[in-house]
Symmetry: C2
């Protein structure tokens, strides 16, 4: 047993979301050994980095792992793998650019690799989730914003400066009256993100007199999960919210199919937990609007991984990828 312990290698996977940061110790087989959360809504990025460093150190101690920590992998919005910086994230409360890799290396003395949070989710789905064995798929992360990781011909698209796959900022007529944090109108994420769900809720409640349990929820407590719960309890407005969001996602997915001829488009993140409430209208709208070439060839599904595990596992695999 001593020999095994001496050989064990671990990495730290971090999923930096707009609201919450999840982090975990992961072993070399992809098993999550210990996991923790901190808030992303701090007044400064230094405060957040201090909290994260402290949290990681505590997790290492409490888990009692005997092996080596190979490095830290972080999935974050607008993270540039080349520079190690968050360049221009509109969904984070801090000013960009943020030299994230450098900040964490300085605090913990561990080599740190970063990538787009959606790319991290895509790597996680490919290694352990719904995309196991697939060579062509798109992961849409429906969180505070909407990100995407595009895998085509077995390769995760990176692009000139690492900014490939910003599908959440592609614009659609169904969102033409919605302003995005990026300063433009019509971005997919103005509808399909947590913020988008809340905005749709506000609009539908304002535009009708239909009774709804959602009217009893204080504005600052509205969330995709609260709407999902109401929909499952039979609330008509709540069902309409997910029906609308699903149809929009179906129309968007129909456009995305024309880009990479994917085998699957996988939804990931808080909004996707609605499952069939979202998937059924999405599939119907996809079928109605997609080009004939892709009509029966794209599987639309939600992540097969629990919680934010895909993003964390993908991030945790970054220190290994860095060696290629």
């Amino acid at each position: 047993m001593r020999t095994k312990s001496a050989e064990s290698v671990f990495t730290i996977g971090v999923d930096l979301g707009g609201t919450t940061t999840s982090f975990a110790i992961v072993d070399s087989s992809g098993k999550i050994i210990a996991k923790e959360l901190i808030s992303t809504r701090t007044s400064s990025v230094d405060e957040w980095a201090d909290n994260l460093s402290c949290g990681i150190e505590k997790l290492i101690v409490s888990s009692g792992i005997g092996g080596n920590i190979k490095g830290i992998g972080i999935g974050a919005p607008c993270a540039n793998a080349v520079t190690g910086c968050i360049e221009a994230a509109t969904d984070l409360p801090w000013k960009s650019p943020i030299p994230l890799a450098q900040m964490m290396e300085k605090r913990l003395g561990l080599p740190t690799t970063i990538t787009n949070d959606a790319n991290a989710a895509a790597i996680g789905e490919m290694a352990y989730g719904s995309a196991l064995g697939l060579k062509n798929f798109i992961v849409l992360t429906l969180g505070t914003g909407v990100g995407s990781g595009i895998v085509c011909d077995g390769h995760l698209l990176s692009g000139t400066r690492g900014f490939a796959g910003e599908l959440g900022h592609m614009t659609f007529s169904f969102a033409s009256d919605r302003e995005c944090a990026c300063g433009r109108k019509g971005c997919l994420q103005t509808v399909a993100s947590a913020k988008g769900i809340i905005e749709t809720t506000r609009r539908l409640l304002r535009e009708s007199d239909t009774p709804s349990s959602l009217r009893d929820i204080p504005a600052d407590e509205l969330s995709p999960l609260a709407v999902q719960q109401a929909a499952r309890d039979g609330d008509n407005i709540a069902r309409e919210i997910y029906d609308f969001t699903g149809r929009c996602l179906g129309m968007a997915a129909a456009e995305f199919a024309s880009i990479t001829d994917p085998e699957a488009i996988i939804l990931f993140g808080g909004v996707s937990k609605a499952g069939d409430l979202l998937l059924n209208p999405m599939k119907e709208a996809f079928r109605q609007s997609v080009l004939h070439l892709y009509r029966d060839t794209v599987k639309l599904t939600v992540s097969g991984l629990r919680d934010a595990d895909a993003a964390i596992l993908g991030a945790a695999s970054l220190p290994y990828l860095g060696q290629d």
Copy 2:
């Protein structure tokens, strides 16, 4: 000299367009030795294949090449490299699927490889044209329809069944009242193709009383080239046509930038010969509508290769690629 001749290897490159088929003998350095055209508007695909075979044989004899013909490469709409078939092309006058590779192998006894015509153009641009040395770019072929070849991280995207890069069938609100040959509305190609230019011309002439030399051209003689000539002669309607088309292309290119973070988006084909008439409004619209991340990083340009050379050269390189 005899030794050199004995070593020479040639390939046949074929660019199957919706109206015209170009084909050429190309040497291993990418030099076009001899080139010819036939019409694509035949009543049957067999008639076309007979004409092409006959034309290739004549070209081989008349060019007096002494070396080996390694194979034939064909770029064609909706061509599937995996099956060797044209699967469901809406811009060809024949019924799909068409076992194109097999048909040509049978007629000429030469190994035949096919790919999407836009992919062939992308390979040609990468090998000899505007994309020389680039690892991230998109080629938009503005011909009878609109095709695209997407190169990301140095790799030409293929997708599950070889149907990646159908960007001409992505839909946009600026074309929401235009019906596409695919049966849907709003596809980019309903505006930015040769057919799109003609439709825009008809609409603008109908909607205004502005004098225009285009009114003197019989409907069946209207072409992108005729409109380009009129625009260069100062015709206001003709300028408005390319201004509108350029703006639409700029808005579309702004969306495409979010997909692969490209260094360049390269226009190719008949409509692109308008040059700055098209590029200037395209650049302005791109800058106005693109996400900040890509605002000053994408070069918009027209193909640096003469006529359909990029497509032919790309197709001619297919027999070599097939050996990888």
